[in-house]
Subunit: 298 residues, 2 copies
């Protein structure tokens, strides 16, 4: 049996109006077409749904029995359609994003707030992860897209730059280096440096910096969270090299530019190339692309 929905609609219209003629008008169909539809439905179900007499059409017991479920069926179908269209119209949906901790703590929240205001029905889930795990989750589809660094981008992933962060030195206010407005790597190499964990992208970049210049760092401390690192710096336990946007507040700290080309950190949106995003994710992607580019560093 093909086209069951139309057949059911035909029967329900006749059942509702009590007349083939009225139902035909309602459905913008000819009475004869309706007759055939209902006949085919009855043949399919193997049971008469309507008692026809030229003057009056009434519903049989079988018709009464099937009517309720049929109406529910059409309602359910309508709900499916409406639900899907809500998804498409961004009235509903879920976007899952993987982003670097520095981005999560910095430029992302205001942009997401804007997104939530515009698309109240869309849920946003945020995974704050270190760089290589962002790549992994984008690749596996665990998240819709990611926000990370261009470095070590495996192929199959597309990169759309949005922010130009760079590494800076963070030193306590009473530190001798605060006299300078820019530092060289050599100057930093003399200092005990407090770094983030070995799997963080910042750490990778810092390690690469010193490897390139064949300088070695003084043994320092290590912490996973940037806020922890900065707290240690504030206490005078050393200096740190972190993204420009890492500090919520510069109280008790001075941020000093580092004079070296390798300090630039190109941060962007990472998506699976050739893999279309869901409507909600697509829109979120676009909004973040605009917002993060427009209002970069804090």
């Amino acid at each position: 049996m093909k086209n069951s929905i139309q057949h059911i609609q035909a029967f329900l219209a006749v059942a509702r109006t009590g007349s083939f003629t009225k139902a035909a008008n309602e459905l913008h169909l000819s009475p004869s077409a309706l007759t055939v539809q209902v006949q085919q439905l009855e043949e399919w179900l193997g049971v008469a749904l309507l008692d026809r007499s030229p003057r009056h059409v009434s519903i049989t017991a079988a018709g009464m029995d099937a009517r309720g479920p049929m109406e529910k069926l059409l309602l359910d179908l309508d709900n499916i359609v409406t639900g899907s269209r809500d998804l498409a119209a961004l009235r509903r949906g879920v976007v899952t994003i993987a982003a670097l901790p520095s981005v999560c703590a910095g430029a992302l929240p205001p942009a997401l707030r804007l997104f939530r205001e515009r698309f109240a029905g869309i849920e946003v889930r945020l995974h704050d992860l270190v760089a290589h795990r962002i790549h992994a989750q984008v690749r596996s589809g665990e998240v819709d897209f990611g926000i990370g660094v261009r470095a070590r981008l495996s192929h199959g992933l597309a990169f759309e730059p949005v922010l130009n962060d760079r590494l800076c030195a963070f030193v306590p206010l009473d530190h001798p280096l605060t006299r300078h407005t820019a530092l060289t790597l050599a100057q930093l190499a003399d200092q005990p440096i407090i770094l983030t964990g070995r799997d963080s992208s910042v750490r990778e970049q810092v390690d690469a910096l010193f490897d390139d210049t064949r300088l070695s760092m003084l043994a320092g401390m290590e912490a996973n969270y940037m806020s922890t690192v900065l707290a240690l710096v504030r206490q005078g336990l050393g200096i740190s090299i972190l993204p420009e946007s890492a500090a919520d507040s510069l109280e008790g700290l001075k941020r000093i530019t580092i004079d070296h080309p390798g300090v630039n950190r190109e941060i962007g949106l990472i998506s699976r190339s050739g893999q279309p995003l869901s409507p909600a994710a697509q829109r979120c992607f676009e909004l973040l692309n605009d917002e993060l580019s427009g209002a970069p560093q804090n």
Copy 2:
């Protein structure tokens, strides 16, 4: 959107198999037909359900979202079809019958028992009513059909005779009339007669008998139930005129034929002419027609 069900089946088959080709085989369709179906469904819903790549087909978030409800929809549809067919196949249903008390107490129960044995899923509801109410309920559709007398049959009702009952005299064993094997109305008119209620068909017929012959009955007693009437007769309070099949047991009674053409009671199945019966009612009607004709009086 017409033909939604097929479109949904197409999508679900692809979602299940993960391949247009496999789904096409499963549905006995060409891959191209499937492609079009799914495309139309997506266009209708305004959202992509599948991510196509030549090597792999995967389901989008919207597709995941719609899949469950769609599967449920097809299940519900199937239940409607199955339910209707059960009705048609007499595995399920309700038959409502209005019948004279004499029939309810006599020939009907064995026939209904047979019906219940053959069609265990069909519920039978029995209204035991006096004759004119049987006609009314059949006419109004309150019952599927009735079992009553042909007399006073209003038009629009069809009558199918099944039993040939007749009125007999019931007298106590020690009564003088027990000497006779047949009685005339004149003989009965000498006796105090215990009758059923004024709205019963038996009463109407008895009244008509005496009216025709211009005889008048002796003042007797009256009771609604035939069993009550017979109990009164057994106690010697009078004689009675009741249908041949009225007595469960003839203990303490003698049943004597009445010699008059008007004592015949043609009992039959009463249905609305031109009004088709439900499958269950139709089958019950046929069975009762056979059974009651075959094995009439007790």
